[in-house]
């Protein structure tokens, strides 16, 4: 990866300046929870408790915590498939998120979606989406519905749509941003730019690698922020959401972070240069935020260790819950295919006759 292209803006906010200690401690607890959850997810994958694809937020914890600190309960969230951390911080219990990874009926999507498809109507997490960019048109349409259902203002809801750097090259991204700019929709598109779309760098994939600049084509503000700075991410996202809810001004926010590991848990990331790996490790937001808070006197080393331990215990409980939860009932296989019952719905299992003999 060309390090020079990964320039970050100066942080708008001093690292800990003026922020209540409780808030900072809370953010660290959340970062620690996401870290512990993802490390355990990886372990559970290796132990074949988790199947399919599994993409982790490791290295992106400051981004995850900052974005989820900015979004309000009334807002709607759409994400791509790297979605565990967002679901946890949206308020879903680690038990139910881990159970989804385990494919259990107690999972947030009833065990039918898996890692990439976490969904919770109650907290307005309207999906994890496994197809790159698949979430962008529906998120845009959710904002269209909000525009028609609500009056703009500080109490209005908005949509936050997360996407990866590689996603900015697909048609759905451009079509959707055009609609949002054209129709003035209350939505914030957040590019979580970890520098790599699977193994391809942003510079090899995008003619304009400064991705936030793409907003100019759609008459919306484009903002780039340091994704390792949780407060900067939070404040930039809050400002973007404010424009969306109050002025129906869509915003494109680019958050610069690093992916600590491969694209998914099975990817050893041999394509990464040692220089890039070193930078990613040096930028790791969890130990650096931890050290910063200790240095600032927010908590002690012992406190921090206790927080990490508590996160680990919580995740262990989630694993037990997931492990002990029942599998979905095969009798329910066709349960959710249609919302409105329909005549002649096919419901044959493989090898069963498609109809009764006349």
């Amino acid at each position: 990866m060309a390090a020079k292209a990964r320039t970050r803006p100066e942080s708008a906010v001093e690292s800990t300046g003026g922020e209540p200690a409780d808030t900072l401690r809370d953010y660290y607890e959340k970062m620690s929870l996401v870290r512990a959850f993802e490390l355990r997810s990886s372990e559970m994958y290796a132990r074949a408790k988790v199947g399919g694809y599994c993409h982790l937020n490791l290295g992106e914890e400051a981004t995850v915590v900052g974005l989820m600190a900015a979004i309000e309960a009334r807002d709607y969230l759409f994400t791509g498939y790297r979605d565990h951390g967002y679901a946890l911080l949206r308020g879903l219990s680690p038990d139910r998120v881990m159970a989804e990874l385990f494919g259990k009926v107690t999972g947030v999507s009833g065990g039918r979606g898996g890692s990439m498809h976490l969904f919770d109507a109650e907290t307005r997490l309207l999906g994890g989406y496994g197809i790159v960019g698949g979430q962008i048109p529906p998120a845009t349409g959710a904002a269209l519905a909000l525009k028609n259902q609500e009056v703009a203002g500080p109490d209005a809801a908005a949509v936050m749509c997360l996407l990866g750097d590689g996603t900015t090259n697909i048609g759905a991204f451009h079509e959707s941003l055009n609609l949002a700019g054209l129709w003035k929709l209350p939505i914030v598109y957040v590019i979580v730019n970890n520098g790599l779309g699977m193994g391809t760098t942003v510079e090899k994939a995008s003619a304009e690698p400064e991705l936030y600049k793409r907003a100019a084509s759609y008459r919306m503000p484009g903002v780039r922020v340091d994704g390792d700075d949780v407060l900067a991410v939070r404040d930039a996202a809050r400002d973007a959401l404010r424009q969306a809810r109050e002025s129906r001004q869509p915003v494109l926010l680019e958050v610069m972070c690093y992916r600590l590991r491969g694209h998914s848990v099975v990817d050893p990331a041999r394509y990464r240069s040692s220089e890039d790996t070193t930078i990613a490790q040096q930028s790791d937001p969890v130990p650096s935020f931890r050290a910063k808070l200790i240095a600032a006197g927010v908590f002690s080393e012992t406190d921090a260790a206790a927080i990490d331990e508590a996160a680990d215990v919580r995740v262990s409980e989630a694993v037990v819950f997931a492990d002990e939860s029942p599998e979905p009932d095969v009798d329910d296989l066709f349960k959710y295919v249609y919302a409105t019952a329909v005549a002649n719905m096919p419901a044959a299992l493989p090898g069963e006759p498609v109809m009764d003999a006349l």
Partner: protein, 343 residues
């Protein structure tokens, strides 16, 4: 077999398929403020085929929303609005262009309810015409309905008459699942009796639109009008042909098809799509599985020639299934020569 729920004593009027669609959209826009229309050129231009004529003027741009040429974007946006409880009715100019939006239809609209364990439903209607025969050449003349009929999570309906256009569109708009509503270019100006008042068809049910005892023709959409024409023509020759109009391609009403073939012992499928892997293949397999013992001859399919449809009228005509093709195959299946020495 036709399951129409009459909620009022019906008087009828003779109107076109186009007018039936237009009036139904109007009635649903009036009935439910969650219903809105979205698509290319549906507002100021009043629709490429004038289905939405007058609706922008009466309902305004929030309810009749002109979208830029961005099928993936606006179909997906309609899907997202449906997730928040709106009831969008999308017009895609022709089924050919739906391929640009197929990720949103197949990978998303069809999947969400199941994949998210019933936490969301998608009350979305996608209207689009298929059909060839207008000299629109290969890219604008396709019948791709089987692509959608293959997908669990979608419902696919294909009305052949103005009355069914009304009753099935009403049902589709009030249904909480994504419904592909297949229209046909050559049906828009077709006239038929349409009952007044609210008419709601039952999705998933076929209809026996003509009874007979010698052979069953199974068809849908435009094909049904041709099938009826051929059936009446053969009736004059003393043959009794039953016509089953599928009306719903997903779910497929296998019972109605098989009950008819059990009675007649002979079946021909008349379809506008290409033969291999087409609608007729599914019907034929259904008949084979359901009523094999009652068949007196193999099921035959009359489908489009497997070629990208040419522009030239002569070639186009040769490639599309016609009434003459159907009549010929019906006679072959019944082992009847059209002239005494033919066999």
């Amino acid at each position: 077999m036709t399951e129409i729920v009459n909620t009022e004593v019906a008087t009828t009027r003779t109107i076109t398929y186009r007018q039936a669609l237009n009036e139904t959209l109007r009635a649903e826009l009036e009935r439910d403020d969650k219903v809105f229309l979205i698509g290319e050129e549906i507002g100021i231009f009043e629709g490429s085929y004038k289905i939405t004529a007058g609706l922008l003027e009466d309902f305004g741009p929030d309810r009749v929303l002109d979208a830029p040429i961005a099928e993936e974007g606006f179909v997906g946006a309609a899907l997202g609005a449906a997730m928040l409880g709106m009831r969008p009715v999308v017009e895609i100019m022709t089924i050919n262009f739906s391929l640009i939006a197929i990720d949103q239809i197949v990978n998303h609209a069809a999947k969400m309810r199941s994949m998210f364990a019933g936490q969301v439903s998608i009350p979305l209607v996608i209207r689009m015409p298929g059909g060839g025969g207008q000299q629109l050449a290969a890219t604008h003349s396709q019948n791709l309905e089987v692509w959608y009929a293959h997908i669990p999570g979608l419902k696919v309906v294909a009305p052949s008459t103005p009355a069914d256009a009304k009753a099935l569109l009403t049902a589709a708009i009030r249904d909480d699942d994504p419904v592909i509503f297949l229209e046909n270019l050559s049906l828009y100006s077709a006239k038929g009796e349409v009952p007044d008042g609210e008419q709601i068809a039952e999705i998933g049910k076929a209809a026996v639109v003509k009874t007979g005892t010698d052979l069953t023709i199974v068809s849908y959409s435009r094909g049904t009008t041709t099938a009826l024409e051929v059936a009446r023509q053969l009736e004059a020759e003393g043959l009794s042909i039953e016509v089953v109009d599928l009306r719903s391609l997903r779910p497929l009403d296998r019972d109605t098809i098989c009950a008819s073939v059990k009675k007649t012992g002979h079946a021909v499928v008349f379809e506008d799509d290409w033969l291999s892997y087409g609608i007729g293949a599914e019907i034929s397999a259904t008949i084979g599985e359901g009523v094999f013992d009652f068949l007196d001859a193999p099921v035959r399919r009359v489908a489009a020639a497997e070629v990208p449809l040419p522009y030239a009228k002569s070639l186009e005509k040769a490639a599309l299934p016609s009434a003459a093709d159907l009549a010929k195959v019906v006679r072959e299946v019944l082992n009847i020569s059209s002239t005494p020495n033919d066999n």
